[in-house]
Amino acid sequence: MVKKHQIRTTVNGEEYDLLVDPKKTLLQLLREDLDLTGTKEGCDEGECGACSVILDGKVVNSCLVLAVEADNAEVTTIEGIHRGEDLHPIQKSFVDSGAVQCGFCTPGMILTTKAMLDEIPDPSEEDIKHYLEGNLCRCTGYSKIIDAVNLAIKHSK
């Protein structure tokens, strides 16, 4: 029997004391234990970015992060960025730009955009492409997603 680890982590502003299997990924912890299914499992090997979450201000592939690494850390998922009933400006930009089709990559795209804008409020086209290169979309062809990011930048000014 593998010894479980006690961790304390903050997810979307709420503090959790959890006993976790050392092999469990942060993605599994979020989806299976906390029922936060907005974080998607695409490739499960760090290629697609569908599982992107913000861990202490940095965007990570939660499939490649162990749950125990979230001990004493702050995690933000797609469920944690809207403000009450109102959408976060980035979420609204994605809706308004038609950047959402099947929606599977959308949470990851939005969180990567958020982490980028928190770090660089006025990114160049190159910055946007650089940040989003780890998030794959099979529907939109990316141009609507870039439009959405540009609209979000415009709104935040």
Partner: protein
């Protein structure tokens, strides 16, 4: 100009808001009471003939409810795309990955 209900108008994607909030439910997000989980065993060889599939050990494992092979599926060929035309649901005797 004739008025249309959709043409020329800005129609928001009907479930875009649920999708940007992460609350849209995809098949993988569904959990049902007593739900069973399936694991697919793929051929370790790219080009081979199936002589026999012995499922007796797998069936004895704790928690295993069923093991399905081609013998349990209807032998009706079907297609989901031209590349995969005339395929059985599970291969019966010959494996050739294209």
């Amino acid at each position: 100009m004739e008025q249309h209900s959709a043409v020329g108008k800005r129609i928001p994607h009907r479930d875009a808001v649920d999708k940007v909030k992460g609350s849209a439910i995809f098949t993988n997000d569904i959990k049902l009471k007593g739900m069973l989980y399936c694991k697919i065993l793929r051929s370790p060889l790219p080009h081979a003939r199936i002589i026999n599939i012995d499922v007796s050990k797998a069936e004895k494992l704790i928690g295993v409810k069923a093991v399905l092979t081609y013998k349990d599926t209807p032998q009706v060929k079907f297609s989901i795309s031209p590349t995969w035309a005339d395929k059985l649901p599970l291969e019966s005797d010959f494996i050739a990955k294209s």
